[in-house]
Symmetry: C2
Subunit: 550 residues, 2 copies
């Protein structure tokens, strides 16, 4: 195969720039042209909220490459403020408008790469309160300059990754932030009990979180919400989500998938010959379900851009399905996920089992250890890992990356217990948190310790089970599940005759003593299950639920 002479890339930033620079390294002779509608061809999209908040003090740090630097190093012909207005897939041409001069040209291609991205939703309020998004440097500039005084009231729409980052950074700039979320929880990629610590952190930093509401209109200086309340606002930041940019592709007859993103095969080829597409405008094949999904992550855009360059240069594709790994830090708390949530699995009718643990981020005897909340979802038949969620303050990114690597490699959940992770007391424990999660998964799946989930507890108690809290009397006194009987683990063997005859549910603070109690009682002939994740998971779920009703 002869390498194409002329490669046209529409859209810069992650996917487009990865394709362009890799292609140049593989092919000195190709003509590579990048058409970018905006004023910047390469900027740090994920840094924008932190520029607003002043964490990134220099605007220049956001700008990674310029057309000039890209020409010098890679002989790329980068045209910013140029818009591709039409693709003719039969003649292999793209109509391009210079947005400043209005001049129109027709560019030919041997290969075309569409890195069109996604556009932010922007609430229609029909009022004079300005609505901004947080997707481009211009957006960040606009928000930055709107924060004209301390205490300015801002409504953020959306409690996802960007909404939370926006809220945090607006607070650091002194704004009075109301966060409006349509769903019953923040961070909808997580399950509700896992989102609870984030809700608590955000509220404790003064953000007025409103769940289960939408904006119905605006009055003078306030937005009206669907529950009849209102929130003061001189600025609205809409971080409620993005929609793939597909207009150009659609007009050219290029197929769009069911998710609304451009449809591509495993090589990122679209339905049109020699037209590739990558990045947030494209639907991804994902690992857990085997179907397609919109996963708008910079890592995937980069990886696919690079792969397309390889393919254009005549190399073999290296496609892997997406895991949907994500992470967000907000007010010192961190939430991360990979794969599917329990909600997704339930909706899809998938069979799964669940394990919650709350280990320390590093050895408890070394200062600074923080308790994490970890959730694993796995297939009971194959033990394949289907998803994981982790929330806490330290060591979250490490554990989600280890689990993502295990999922990528197809390791079963129980194998997490066997990983030989680096241990010194600053970094982990001799049995690392991930090992513990693997042990609990194995005990759960094998039936060594049958468990019960927090959302199954009420039904089990109604059906006549007794609930035994095996924590200490001091822990019990500080807060207990209604109806629980306190029999501390260390007294359990002596007090077996106090226990009711029927089915038992035991619980402790995080699940570990409950596991020991379950094993003990089962061997003494009791029908017993351990409340997975203990009081802490139950309490998180409860606080998230009550939080969503306020």
């Amino acid at each position: 195969m002869t390498a194409p002479r002329r490669v046209l890339i529409v859209g810069g930033v992650a996917g487009g720039m990865s394709a362009a620079t890799r292609l140049r390294r593989l092919d000195e002779s190709a003509e590579i042209t990048v058409i970018e509608r905006g004023p910047e061809v390469s900027y740090a999209n994920c840094g924008l909220p932190y520029y607003v908040g002043g964490v990134i003090p220099e605007r220049a740090s956001l700008l990674l490459q310029t057309p000039d630097s890209l020409h010098r190093r890679f002989r790329l012909d980068v045209r910013v403020r140029h818009e591709a207005s039409r693709i003719d897939t039969a003649r292999k041409t793209v109509d391009v408008i210079d947005l400043d001069s209005g001049r129109r040209t027709v560019e030919t291609y041997d290969a075309l790469v569409l890195a069109l991205g996604a556009s932010p939703r922007r609430a229609e309020t029909g009022s004079s309160i300005p609505v901004l998004s947080l997707r481009t440097v211009a957006d960040a500039d606009a928000i930055h300059s709107s924060l004209t005084r301390p205490g300015i009231p801002v409504v953020v729409i959306g409690g996802g990754y960007t909404g939370l980052e926006a809220a945090e950074n607006l607070v650091s700039r002194g704004a009075a932030v109301t966060l409006v979320q349509r769903g019953e929880q923040l961070l909808s990629p997580l399950d509700i009990e896992m989102s609870a610590p984030i809700l608590a952190a955000v509220r404790s930093h003064g953000v007025d979180v409103r769940l289960c509401v939408t904006i119905t209109g605006t009055t003078d200086g306030a937005v009206a919400l669907s529950d009849g309340t209102s929130a003061p606002a001189e600025l609205i930041v809409d971080a409620s989500g993005v929609t793939p940019e597909t207009q150009l592709a659609t007009a050219a007859g290029i197929a769009i998938g069911e998710t609304g993103g451009i449809r591509v095969d495993a090589s990122c080829r679209t339905s049109a010959p020699d037209v590739f597409a990558v990045g947030d405008g494209v639907e991804k094949t994902e690992l857990v379900g085997g179907g397609t999904a919109l996963i708008t992550m910079a890592g995937l855009a980069n990886r696919h851009g690079r792969m397309v360059a390889d393919i254009i240069a005549g190399r073999a594709p290296s496609s892997r399905p997406a895991l949907g790994t994500g992470i967000v830090s907000v007010f010192g708390s961190v939430a991360a996920k990979v794969g599917w949530s329990e909600k997704q699995l339930t909706t899809a009718g998938r069979d799964f089992y669940t394990a919650h643990v709350h280990p320390a981020s590093h050895a408890g005897y070394f200062p600074g250890a923080e308790t994490m909340s970890m959730k694993l979802l796995a297939d009971p038949l194959t033990d394949r890992i289907l998803g994981a969620q982790i929330v806490g303050r330290e060591g979250i990114d490490k554990r989600i990356d280890v689990i993502a690597t295990a999922m990528h490699a197809g390791l079963p959940a129980s194998e997490l217990s066997q990983l030989e992770l680096a241990y010194a007391p600053q970094f982990g424990s001799a049995k690392d948190a991930v090992n513990m999660l693997g042990y609990v998964a194995e005990n759960t799946r094998s039936g060594t310790t049958p468990t019960l989930q927090w959302h199954e507890l009420d039904d089990a108690l109604t059906a006549g089970a007794a609930l035994i809290d095996v924590r200490t009397p001091a822990e019990f006194a500080a807060g207990a599940i209604p109806g629980a009987i306190n029999v501390p683990l260390d007294e359990l063997r002596e007090r077996l005759d106090e226990l009711p005859d029927g089915p038992l549910i035991v619980h402790c603070q995080v699940g570990l003593r409950g596991h020991a109690a379950t094993r003990l009682l089962a061997q003494h002939g009791f029908a017993v299950r351990n409340l997975d994740g203990g009081y802490r998971t139950w309490h998180d779920a409860r606080s998230a639920r009550s939080g969503s009703r306020t």
Copy 2:
């Protein structure tokens, strides 16, 4: 199979306690007796240096469990200050001496678990300068109370994990520390160029590091060294290593392996029937070489202890070969490794290829990013990962754990590029450091960018190759490799005719621009290789080498 009635465990701490508690959870009726020579059955071995340094202020934090707490919760019969003096494997008995009363008993067993540990080497100086090790709580107490005044001179023997931790913590207590290391580098599990940043960090914090020397004797208030110099010492801390405790096993006719540790099969069974062994006294099967090695890590001891309990309780073994994952933090710098080093591979005559990268710990545009040094060793035929080493200040533990997980799963080196790791600017980059390492591995192995190692440079230059430094003139002026010609990457295409005709070696600061230059020049017909890891790896190797000669 009927579960054994009577299980005897000799040795507490990691391996022994994991076996004992897991076994109780699986079997309420077994009689479980733990014989421990020392006064503590369960303590935080890896925390001892930090107790010496005051990082862990409370001695009580080191003591994890007591015989009493273990009896209450797990009905373990734990006998501290009891020594097993003889095993009769035919009659299945162990002679036990109560070290306080001198009383002797004979204990029978159905299953015996030896968790005998390893004993620290202790230098024989033949003088009045006290020599202490750092292996037990009593050792830590003794060092703690020896530091009677600021500026007290202490010699630490050994530049391994424990020696470095000891040096750091002695410095925080105000001691004047000389570190004496037999080999030419600190941290011998790493290759020399990777140990250089640790050497620099330790020296910059005032530790007088002496390489390539041993102690030959002591004079009044000083140790004499093999190079004719001396070092002041009122205390010597010997952290030069440990030797498996095998006397009890040997006397019982239990087989010892070639490494000097007790020989066990994949189920941790010794050569004697129903006698298991785990922990630092036992040799481990390791993944890369397929042979045995002494790997004294708490994680393996815990894992094997738990597995032995499973086997005793009639469950299937879950053995996995050891990777030898390790990490150490010293003066804010962190070094970690997994698998084999280049030295080990070379000594064993194994075929391998190498990749060095120096990526940032997180997105460069976000404050606080620190440059890491990463080294990967992989099999050129299968692309199997053979080892990795990472040094830096932030994010080291995460990356080594991801690579350890990939090794455990058998992922090829190039697959590291495909891992979908969690990205937000605080935690990583859209192309994470591990992804970059995978890309460089792939480019190296495929021959896309042929590379040259730092230790191959002199020979190549002697053989007539020209060295082109593609960094900027400012970088070149700040420090360059002797003989290099400076042609900045961005000018390379215009200045091709200035380049010599013969073979070229290019380099930049860390390898990335060198990669682009290599691709560019190769396509213009030059015979060119990229200096792997760039100026930084070369400089690290050189500073480590010169450091070892001082």
